[in-house]
């Protein structure tokens, strides 16, 4: 009796998981299939082709956008990690009032709607006379990336023991070397996860880039947006498939490789 209800429970659970999985993956699977369809039609299979992949790689617009996207993601998360980690250390040592004030401001870009952040940055750039372009996208991405770094580093900092740092100082280490030898190894996982988080946030951003981009510079997101409004090309399906595979492989490596060591 009990076993039977357990079985039914398990079955209902599995069924639910499968339904949601189908909902989540149907669009992605469709695009993968269509990316190999030689017919431009979405309902007829015209035979297998890799033509759209060739077209994708020979399009200098798409390749430049990909390059911009990666470069901006990399630079913005790196700079955000440097500024953010330094800030987290400083904030951690602060008294309650300035600390909660700073953390309050830190939360703004995370909780604010992207459209408001994007517009406000655009207004600021135009008011400061900074011409819109690569620079402004980079600055905007750093701005919304820093909070993610701070929020990843802070918990690790709270866990570190202040006395080890002080002990290192007592034993004659300079504050810089004490930091890098004692504190930094402890917070490194937080710094790394902050970097990764910032990197993916930057890769995925469209709205803020949409408002702060300038002449002749596209990231993948803004390029896709204009392409989609012009009519969907099969090379977009190919692009989607490549991104999916890359993400899958990267996530598999980062999520499961370290665990095996344990």
């Amino acid at each position: 009796m009990n076993r039977k209800t357990d079985f039914i429970k398990r079955f209902v659970q599995d069924f639910y998981l499968v339904i949601i999985l189908v909902f989540l993956y149907a669009p992605i699977a469709t695009m993968t299939v269509l990316s190999f369809n030689s017919s431009k039609s979405r309902t007829q299979w015209g035979g297998f082709t890799t033509r759209w992949y060739t077209e994708l790689f020979s399009s200098s617009t798409i390749m430049t956008a990909l390059y911009n996207t990666l470069l901006i993601a990399f630079l913005s998360s790196l700079i955000a990690v440097i500024i953010g980690t330094a800030a987290a250390i400083a904030i951690n040592g602060m008294k309650r009032v300035p600390r909660s004030l700073l953390m309050g401001v830190t939360n703004i870009p995370m909780l604010n709607a992207d459209i408001v952040t994007g517009i406000s940055l655009m207004l600021a750039f135009i008011a400061f006379g900074i011409s819109l372009g690569f620079k402004t996208i980079l600055i905007s991405h750093i701005t919304f990336n820093i909070p993610y770094v701070i929020l990843s580093v802070m918990p690790k900092l709270k866990q570190t023991d202040k006395s080890t740092y002080e002990a290192a100082m007592d034993l004659g280490a300079t504050s810089v070397s004490a930091f890098f030898k004692v504190v930094f190894p402890d917070i490194l996982p937080g710094v790394l996860s902050g970097f990764l988080l910032a990197f993916t946030m930057s890769l995925d951003d469209f709205i803020i880039t949409h408002f702060t981009r300038g002449a002749g510079i596209n990231t993948l997101s803004t390029l896709i947006y204009s392409e989609v409004r012009r009519g969907i090309k099969p090379s977009m399906y190919a692009l989607s498939n490549i991104i999916f595979i890359t993400v899958l492989v990267l996530l598999l490596i980062t999520n499961f490789a370290p665990k095996r060591k344990k």
């Binding site: 998981l17 695009m31 701005t143 995925d204 469209f206 997101s221």
Partner: protein
């Protein structure tokens, strides 16, 4: 003391690129083209077309949030019951689509839903009546649920994982049935996750202009579309800023909610 210097670059950055830009929105929102103070931009939200767009946005994002919650809570429960090993792999599978480009995900739904799209192709092959969802509010809700569902699942899952199994066993020993365990134990303990999930779905859904553009055929105007168009087409920045200020009120409400229910940041997705 020297540590405080480390926050220097960040404080400068925040002032330059968070506070001043926000101050500019407030300035633009409260002035007219000539720079004189006015409340007209903010109050224009009561004009019929803006009010309608705002109500529609509120309605659609409310429905999407509720749908996300209804879908996500049981999912998070199931994931919890699968324990760590198997569970974390399934969680991984569920958040994987979130790492795809947001626009590509929405584009995929366009491909699926269109009149001569994939779903109708399959339905026709099965001799079933075709669906007509594209360019309707239904398609926009679908797009929102699809895009924002992971933001609801993750915080709830994180909170549920922290609930000690012993608490549940204790409740059962004291004679609680499954329904009671759910409503008296699990649900109250997962409130921080639910609140943070709700705001993480509601705010982007309320302010989106991309989903309504791509899946609504520009027939449905949400408040996000109005603001975007004031900046990119209408060139009335004052009006756009004024409406953004109205939006920020809703964002402030959600910040307050988070502060109230999720004091320790337990419910954050990351």
């Amino acid at each position: 003391m020297s540590k405080k210097i480390l926050s220097g670059p960040y404080i400068m950055w925040m002032i330059g690129f968070i506070l001043i830009p926000l101050a500019l929105i407030v300035y633009y929102g409260l002035t007219d083209r000539s720079g004189a103070f006015t409340l007209a931009n903010v109050l224009s939200v009561t004009s019929p077309e803006h009010a309608k767009a705002l109500w529609l946005s509120l309605g659609l994002s409310f429905i999407s949030t509720v749908l996300c919650l209804i879908l996500a809570y049981p999912l998070a429960m199931v994931l919890r019951s699968r324990g760590m090993g198997q569970g974390s792999f399934i969680v991984f599978i569920f958040i994987l689509p979130m790492w795809m480009n947001f626009l590509l995900r929405t584009l995929a739904w366009q491909t699926l839903l269109e009149k001569n799209g994939v779903i109708n192709g399959i339905l026709t092959a099965l001799h079933l009546p075709n669906q007509n969802l594209i360019n309707t509010s239904g398609a926009i809700i679908l797009g929102m649920v699809y895009n924002f569902l992971p933001f609801m699942v993750l915080p709830i899952y994180n909170v549920l994982m922290k609930i000690d199994d012993n608490v549940i066993s204790a409740a059962r020993d004291l004679g609680a049935n499954s329904v009671q365990v759910l409503f008296r134990i699990l649900f109250p303990l997962s409130i921080p996750g639910i609140v943070s999930g709700i705001t993480m779905v509601f705010v982007p859904a309320l302010t989106t202009f991309v989903i309504s553009n791509l899946l609504g055929g520009s027939k449905i105007l949400l408040i996000g579309n109005v603001i975007e168009q004031e900046f990119t087409k209408g060139s009335n920045w004052n009006l756009g800023s004024g409406l953004s200020l109205v939006l920020m009120i809703f964002i402030l409400i959600s910040m307050a909610l988070i502060a109230k229910y999720d004091k320790n940041g337990e419910g954050t997705a990351f």
